[in-house]
Symmetry: C2
DNA sequence: TACATAAGGTACTTGGTGTACCTTATTTTC
DNA sequence: GAAAATAAGGTACACCAAGTACCTTATGTA
């Protein structure tokens, strides 16, 4: 029996996600995905306009685990935990895939923004929530409740990966980002 | 007469730089560079192991203009000027090229770090100098004399380009980065 | 049962990287 | 000044991947 519609689409997506997980974005070729899904390139191109679009869809497939927002009652602890989570993600194979996608998409802004919203590490809501609670406790200044300020830590972290090409950021760097940059920037007291 | 050695090398580099400037990194193909330099691919491959290496060399060729360090006596003015310079660079065709290189090099860390050192926008020395002067004037806190802290502004700026895929960052964003993030982080007074 | 829709199969065009191999010009060395 | 070494030119090609064309075949739907 011949698969069609959603069934086939799922099979293709699963195959693409597997390829991504195994070989990263550079290894995601249409031929291999087609072969792995037991179909052919036409079926793929009827659904996604090009490789990049399939890559994003597959990456999304890979990322259904949602991040939890820590709430320990201490700003520094919350921030450290969240940043370490992001680092765990970025240094995992998935992070490598994300960077591969980010890299290849710099010419396609529409796809980039779509990816941006699904980026497991950069959701500003996450950071704003942490800060909102800290403000209520008097640990953070209210002016910090600003997406650009709130996400500074994770932006610096991602910067390590993107501009240095490292595959893993040491925990000392995480602590440095938090203690030298983030806390001085958002916290209310201590100076 | 047949060119060889440094003369030929220069010609290739110039051709590559021209291609980069005209068509960006994706448009930099070995065939076209060879043709433009009036030689052939062999001559190129004898000098650079692959396209990425040639790309970096060509980019470097393109960037001999050194950045000047402003010294107006006011921290905010110095920072704004420097960041606007970086933005001018990043939103120019050269910035596009830089991003294209950054993108394609995420798998080759050695090349990436080489590029990193030559990045016209991220030299931490530049920022440290600005801050050192500001500390002497009492406008910045001494703890800010730390590469990670000092370069926060330009990292955030580059982040706009890399993760949003925009081709130009508005001046309001620059001002926001400076006033909402950078100055609160480094300045000594005002809170 | 007829028709429309969607999948399979296959071959191909295009474009780019990197390599092989041979010929030819220019230095260097004896 | 000739011989040998070095480096450039020329051409063709293997290889790979994206994307397209076109036809055949299966599966729903009216």
């Amino acid at each position: 029996m011949r698969r069609r519609g959603a069934v086939l689409e799922d099979a293709i997506l699963r195959a693409a996600a597997d390829e991504l997980a195994e070989s990263g974005y550079p290894g995601l070729t249409m031929d291999r995905v087609a072969k792995r899904a037991g179909t052919n390139k036409n079926a793929i191109y009827r659904r996604w306009p090009n490789r990049a679009a399939l890559g994003i869809a597959a990456y999304r497939q890979l990322m259904q685990d949602r991040t939890v927002i820590p709430d320990t009652g201490d700003l520094r602890t919350d921030v450290l935990e969240t940043l370490r989570n992001a680092n765990r993600h970025l240094s995992s194979p998935n992070g490598d895939i994300l960077r591969g996608l980010l890299a290849s998409l710099h010419t396609e802004p529409e796809l980039l923004t779509e990816l941006h919203e699904r980026m497991a590490d950069g959701g500003s809501e996450l950071w704003l929530t942490i800060l909102r609670r800290a403000v209520e406790r008097g640990q953070a200044r209210p002016e910090a409740l600003n997406p650009r300020v709130a996400t500074v830590a994770v932006v610096l972290l991602r910067n390590e990966y993107v501009t240095r090409g490292v595959t893993e950021v040491a925990d000392e760097v995480i602590v440095e980002i938090v203690d030298d940059v983030y806390l001085p920037l958002v916290s209310s007291s201590t100076r």
